[in-house]
Subunit: 260 residues, 2 copies
Amino acid sequence: MPFSKQALKELRRLQQKKFREQEKAFLIEGVRLCEEALQAGAALLQVLICPEQMQNDRSQKLIQALTHAAIPVDVIDAAALAALAETQAPQGIVAVVRKHAPKLFEPGKNGDPLLLAIDGIADPGNLGTILRSAEWFGVKNVLLSRDTVELHNPKVVRSSMGSLFRLEVQENLDLAETARHAKAAGWRLIAAEAAHGEPSHRISASGRDLLFIGSEAHGLVTNLAHWIDLRITIPGNGAGESLNAALAAGILLYQLTAPQ
Amino acid sequence: MPFSKQALKELRRLQQKKFREQEKAFLIEGVRLCEEALQAGAALLQVLICPEQMQNDRSQKLIQALTHAAIPVDVIDAAALAALAETQAPQGIVAVVRKHAPKLFEPGKNGDPLLLAIDGIADPGNLGTILRSAEWFGVKNVLLSRDTVELHNPKVVRSSMGSLFRLEVQENLDLAETARHAKAAGWRLIAAEAAHGEPSHRISASGRDLLFIGSEAHGLVTNLAHWIDLRITIPGNGAGESLNAALAAGILLYQLTAPQ
């Protein structure tokens, strides 16, 4: 069955946040991201391929795995693929993925040693990199404030390198509420601050830490002062300068997962 | 004197690496980067402004500071500015900066505790972020291999947030040569490895460390095996995954500048 213009138009709507929210689905592209989605058990609703761009072994193996998993694979032409894709080199493949409904963070029940909360990060590349680091350091739950960039923004999806398929990420949270509940359930609440906090090298894990990372430009925007137990700062040389927010997050996760 | 089409055309050539190398100059844009360049004493050869986009106090102050420093400021229209700029919001200002001739790394004379060498990083955002982190952690000299992205690539310049005006960055180095000389002069040569190295948490500074960071995709590409004293790895959870190269660099700089 040839792929209709109308069907293509429908899919292209997923390039907009509004329709991603309405349809509870998003687009991914490229061989690697599709492999990651398949491997992580993400709900691939539909896959669109441009066969002449998928001649290499790795791509062929992916197509076999997709059909083996009974995922609908449709053929489209290069122009249609380019219209659906965000990058200049989508490597012959785009897929529609149903959004995963994350396991909710229940402060009284969650037994993880370390959780991450993101407050107002606007840069999609930074959020993606933070998710990738969170996974690297063994964090399973990530909590996003209302004013953080959308989790399914194509740049977040790409820069997370598939981590978003393997993490439980809750969006649109009122982090003050989260902080209040977590505090009541005995979590240690840690805020990353650009200056004047406890030097981070001195901090070790408590076994029940909730780390809040703010935006590059404004730091923590949610008023969490009531609940924060510890403010920490990465010592540096900065005369008015600051570390990139994703870098600060990665370094603090590194510090809080150091063997003791 | 109105700004001629010919003059604009000449300046636009600086958008190409070839001409940046030939002219030993590069373009910067935006109020902040121009402030940073001025403050760091970078050689601003010429500044082009679009006055109607520079009405706010901060921009006005910058213009005053530039004229006070006897830097030639020319007026151009919004279309010309847009043609010169790389970003969509150049904030009314673009400047031509003469490349800084970096202080060369002399292994026998340099008394810094920590230096950074970058081997084959292709992503300009990653290189810029690494420079920013290097400055944060007090590194003064950064050494770039031949196949690392150009230092004056506009994305490197932007993402370095002005750090490249304050660091001594040498380009186009044969890092095997650098390693050989540094080793002979008593430096400890450390290689960041994605896996199988000494866990980084255990490493502390020697007071004379040269840290080599490789590319995200290929790790260290230069053959340094003869000279490396120590291979270190950031412990993680990664099932085939890796940390972003800029993040790995930042974490290792953090570790190697920890108070002892």
